[in-house]
């Protein structure tokens, strides 16, 4: 397996990332480093492109400009076969869990092992049960995905993501829609797995406190740019008005409530006549 020569290099290195959806810039010159062995949080309000960032890192989307290196390999210059090899070393936990709904929990976790290894069934069974034990769901192995709660589905997805012992895991909004107990369980799991398995973790979230609690480093993204970065505690206590508003969940601040529009409220409600009157003045 190809590894970068310098293990002090960040595992994920993003430089000058530009990505547009239509004319709307999602990322406009973003630089991010994800150090090896760390838990890095990517935060920002809904719709800032956090999930898009994970898809760009995983090579599912292609940026208009900029580079993303994972373990020294330029993700968007890799041949498909090499990209798939790289993905085998990257786990991803989707917001919905993305479990295959026609097979049970056991088969879901066994899936990547069956696809990518030629291990005997007895070995696959041991590995699957170990991974399920790690997320506390060994007893749920015979359940179907439809029988799981949201939190359980994410834990099963986490067991599947670590099935091939990847070098990194990307978590897409792991805490969204979870009750406090599930949130605590997931946060603890992320922390524990990261240290026990020497992983590198990337947590994309807008749940500030849960994420900041487990993350070593935090990046805050807004309007297509990185607006704050550094050790989580420093970012949490940042003086920047925008970061402060986001971190403390203040209703009033520099973040506008309204989506940008070219027409004023009066024009929209009173129509063209109002605009003409306005220009006469």
């Amino acid at each position: 397996m190809p590894h970068s020569a310098n293990s002090n290099e960040p595992l994920v290195k993003i430089r000058g990332l530009r990505f547009f959806r239509g004319d709307r810039p999602i990322f406009d010159g973003v630089d991010i480093d994800i150090p090896r062995g760390s838990i890095t949080a990517i935060m920002g309000p809904s719709g800032t492109g956090k999930t898009t960032l994970l898809k760009l890192i995983g090579g599912q989307l292609r940026p208009q400009a900029g580079t993303i290196h994972v373990d020294g390999q330029d993700v968007h210059r890799l041949a498909l076969r090499d990209l798939y090899k790289l993905r085998m070393r990257m786990g991803m936990l989707f917001q919905s869990g993305a479990l295959l709904t026609d097979i049970n929990v056991y088969e879901n976790v066994a899936y990547p092992l069956r696809e990518h290894t030629r291990l005997p069934q007895s070995m696959i069974r041991k590995l699957v049960l170990m991974k399920l034990e790690a997320v506390g769901l060994r007893g749920a192995r015979d359940l179907m995905p439809a029988e799981l709660s949201g939190g359980m589905a994410r834990r099963v997805a986490l067991a599947r993501a670590i099935a091939l012992d990847p070098m990194m895991i990307m978590y897409d909004e792991p805490f969204t829609g979870q009750d406090p107990i599930s949130m605590g369980v997931l946060a603890q799991l992320i922390r524990r797995l990261n240290s026990a398995s020497s992983l590198t973790s990337m947590v994309v979230s807008h749940d500030v406190h849960e994420t900041a609690e487990i993350a070593d480093i935090t990046y805050v993204i807004a309007n297509g740019e990185v607006v704050a970065s550094g050790p989580s505690k420093e970012v949490l206590n940042s003086d920047c008005p925008w970061v402060r508003q986001f971190m403390r969940g203040e209703a009033d601040g520099p973040v506008p409530l309204h989506f940008p529009t070219k027409r004023s409220l009066e024009e929209d409600i009173l129509g063209e006549a109002h605009r003409k009157t306005g220009t006469c003045r």
Partner: protein, 261 residues
């Protein structure tokens, strides 16, 4: 400039159609590229043949039975005007094997299996299962779409054959059981006049073509669906409509090529 705007709109629609056609063909190439790896994992194919083919058996057999019975009723009425009731067997069999078997089976297949395929793939897309496979380094087209495509291709001729067979039995039930046609004449005329190449092989070719097209449309619509509940619903509707139109259009072309002078 309403005329220019209309022209521009027309152009956009045209470009959109060609773009979708292009995406559909690229997907087909991708699906076909997965046929090789599928050969070493026949279990994937068997599961899909069960889902696409075996689970369609009920609707196919019941429909075949009634179509055969109606054919016998209508055929007997017409043939009896000329005193040719004994030719009922050949009439029922030829109509089923050449035309109604492949066409009606394809229409029913599009409604039952095609719509199910589109909804399944569309929902897998909407619930990020396809993205999940990609991130597990598994090609979702080769792993999910190719087995379904081949299953549709294999199932359609078999379902059409079963439809025709049950239809012939339905015709026998009405013709001999209810209308009093001579049983010996029913079977012997059929045996003598139905030609293996002219009738049966051509029917099989038709159902293979319909199987190819219906499954391709269903898979493409699911894979290309907007990943929302409305998007999947629209895609499912498009599968049934496009498949029905394609089957009827292709049936004319194939019939003209096979049986036209």
């Amino acid at each position: 400039m309403p005329l220019m705007e209309s022209l521009a709109q027309l152009g956009r629609i045209g470009l959109g159609i060609f773009e979708r056609l292009g995406r559909g063909h690229l997907l087909l190439a991708h699906i076909l590229a997965g046929l090789g790896p599928l050969a070493v994992r026949p279990r994937l194919l068997i599961i899909q043949i069960h889902s696409v083919g075996v689970l369609s058996l009920l609707i196919i057999t019941v429909s075949g039975l009634f179509v055969g019975m109606v054919l016998a009723l209508q055929g007997h009425y017409t043939l009896s005007q000329f005193g040719a009731e004994d030719s009922l067997g050949i009439m029922v069999a030829a109509a089923l094997v050449r035309e109604l078997g492949p066409v009606v089976t394809a229409l029913l297949f599009a409604g039952r299996a095609g719509s199910a395929l589109t909804a399944e793939i569309g929902l897998m897309k909407a619930t990020e299962q396809l993205s999940g496979l990609e991130m597990m380094a598994v090609d979702p087209v080769k792993r999910v779409l190719t087995p379904r495509f081949l299953a549709g291709l294999i199932s359609m001729p078999l379902l059409a054959a079963i439809f025709s067979m049950v239809g012939v039995l339905g015709g026998h039930f009405v013709g001999i059981g209810l209308l009093g046609v001579d049983e010996g004449a029913y079977w012997s005329q059929m045996q003598a006049k139905i030609d293996l190449h002219e009738d049966i092989y051509n029917g099989v070719i038709k159902s293979l073509v319909f199987g190819f097209v219906c499954t391709w449309i269903a898979l493409f619509q699911g894979y290309d669906a907007t990943p929302t509940s409305e998007g999947v619903s629209r895609a499912t509707t498009r599968t049934v409509v496009h498949s029905a139109l394609a089957v009827l259009g292709l049936d004319f072309v194939l019939t003209a090529l096979m049986f036209g002078d």
